[in-house]
């Protein structure tokens, strides 16, 4: 019974934890401009993150090493440092976007300017990282994030013509968009679903919680059930935008537009629930990304790390996270639009993805790390297909960003 509860809890937190500011914004932007014609990318991204998280979780459980410990060992100090720099900067950008997301959601709830919420949000994130137990932190934000199911509820309440909506789901470039913008947003959506921090966090979390090989079955169920259901939430966000915003000719540029369809479909109550959900989801993701920045640095430089240690025992780990939060505050204090930061962060996530994916794939095949838990043949076939997909997306992202003027 206890085991069953554990599995259920794991799945629920995986669903709630799947959606972050990147998924919210990108799915809504895509829905409002492309309808459901890019929804196949969510499926591609979800399968990809399942493969990646499953591999890195297995590496962590079998070898006791988290992602950046593996990268440092496999790539050596120099290539490893270049890798760390790129991954860390993009993760920092995601931290900034998530904190901005919390502040924007609180602004919508309170009518107090988001700039005033930013320091509060960052301090709250820091306090939780400093004081709250890892498992409680994970479960509370994950479960509260589940309230984003209101997007799916709103979609039903909007009573769309399901036939038309389904016919939109065929991959095709809408008449008013170009092929380049279509593929640019395909990469953005892919980057939003397969953000690298999810994997830093997932593998470090496995070490934090002391996973052993026997825990792998549960983690596999969490990932293989939770992430696809989280992907369905993403589809519901895009669907709401496709039903309400696309016909009205509104292309999403702010968080208020993201939740507009929920207000229309599910009224005031829905609005309250979606705001709670967005605050929980972005807050949870802010915790995960901030921890990820500490994890990556500490794992690379060999500092002691982890929330299971008292902060005094992992001083550099905690100090580096405080600095990251301060940098995030400073960037947002310039008045840069957090939604814009989010849109860039998901694309750069796609650019950086091969840097972490390839070392994990290699180590997952190395019996000296993995013993008999190396990748099976089937996993390797899928993993190699994804390596190609990830490489293509990574190489195409910046040229497409330039050609399309960042999707304008």
């Amino acid at each position: 019974m206890k085991r069953l509860l554990g599995v259920a809890l794991g799945i629920l937190t995986a669903i709630g934890g799947f959606v972050d500011i990147g998924d919210l914004v990108t799915n809504a932007v895509v829905g409002s401009r492309f309808g459901l014609s890019l929804i196949w990318v969510v499926a591609v991204g979800v399968v990809g993150i399942c493969v990646f998280a499953n591999m890195s979780g297995r590496v962590a459980a079998a070898s006791g090493r988290a992602t950046f410990e593996v990268i440092r060992e496999r790539l050596g100090p120099r290539a490893g440092l270049a890798n760390l720099s790129a991954s860390f900067l993009i993760n920092l950008m995601t931290v900034t976007a998530e904190i901005g997301g919390i502040a924007l959601a609180l602004q919508l709830a309170s009518s107090v300017n988001y700039l005033l919420w930013i320091p509060l949000a960052a301090v709250a994130v820091w306090l939780v990282i400093w004081r709250v137990k890892f498992s409680i932190m994970e479960n509370v934000t994950g479960l509260l994030g589940l309230t984003l199911i209101v997007f799916a509820v709103a979609l039903f309440l909007l009573k769309p013509d399901w036939g038309t909506l389904a016919s939109q789901a065929i991959p095709a470039v809408p008449a008013e968009e170009t092929g380049a913008t279509y593929w640019y947003f395909a990469i953005a959506l892919f980057g939003a679903a397969m953000t690298p921090y999810e994997v830093f966090f997932f593998s470090s979390g496995a070490v934090e919680e002391g996973w052993k090989i026997k825990d792998l079955i549960q983690s596999r169920i969490n990932v293989l059930v939770g992430f696809p259901l989280g992907g369905l939430l993403s589809v519901a966000i895009a669907g709401c935008a496709a039903v309400v915003l696309l016909p009205a000719g509104i292309s999403v540029t702010s968080l208020s537009q993201v939740i507009l369809p929920v207000a229309e479909g599910a009224g005031k109550l829905g609005l309250a629930v979606v705001l709670l959900g967005i605050v929980a989801a972005t807050f949870g993701a802010a915790l995960e990304t901030t921890l990820s920045s500490g994890y990556t640095l500490a794992q690379f430089f060999g500092w002691s790390w982890g929330k299971f240690r008292a902060p005094a025992k992992a001083a550099r780990f905690h100090v580096s996270m405080i600095i990251c939060l301060l940098v995030g505050i400073a960037v947002l204090a310039t008045g840069v639009d957090p939604v814009l930061v989010t849109e860039y962060s998901v694309v750069f996530s796609a650019v950086a993805l091969p840097l972490t994916y390839l070392p994990i794939l290699i180590v997952a095949n190395d019996p000296q790390y993995m013993g008999k838990h190396v990748n099976g043949r089937g996993v390797n076939v899928v993993a190699m297909v994804y390596l190609v997909v990830i490489l293509v997306a990574s190489l195409a992202a910046i040229p497409l960003m330039i050609v399309t003027g960042a999707g304008a």
């Binding site: 496999r74 790539l75 050596g76 100090p77 120099r78 290539a79 070392p359 794939l361 290699i362 180590v363 095949n365 190395d366 019996p367 000296q368 190396v374 990748n375 390797n380 076939v381 993993a383 190699m384």
Partner: protein, 115 residues
């Protein structure tokens, strides 16, 4: 000298013919024993004519998955060889010179990572 600085250094034979760059340094742990581990001793250098990037672990012959990565990585390091420390004449900042009649060993390692 920091060992990391040696990586990428051009390697010549005693006639000054360019052979490649230092891609790796190999150690054996057979020095004075300590509580955790014995001292490491530099056994020699791996010289690679095409790339001095990491072998990513594929110098071990036992690694064959996932196709086609091992093939690609080994192809990138084709023509690489291992020279013993005794065969190195000069270890400079800008270049490494090998002794005349040095022996070029295969850089491949067997299953346990032994020579």
């Amino acid at each position: 000298m920091i060992l990391g600085d040696l990586l990428g250094t051009p390697v010549h034979n005693d006639d000054g013919v360019w052979l490649g760059r230092v891609a790796d340094a190999r150690f054996v742990v057979d020095g004075a024993p300590h509580r955790l581990m014995a001292d490491a001793r530099l056994l020699g250098l791996v010289v690679s004519p095409h790339s001095w990037s990491s072998f990513m672990g594929y110098e071990r012959n036992s690694l064959t998955q996932p196709w086609p990565l091992p093939k690609l990585l080994r192809w990138r390091h084709r023509g690489s060889f291992f020279v013993m420390w005794e065969d190195i004449e000069v270890l400079g900042d800008r270049s490494v010179r090998l002794r005349p009649g040095y022996t070029a060993y295969s850089p491949a390692l067997d299953g346990n990572g032994q020579e």
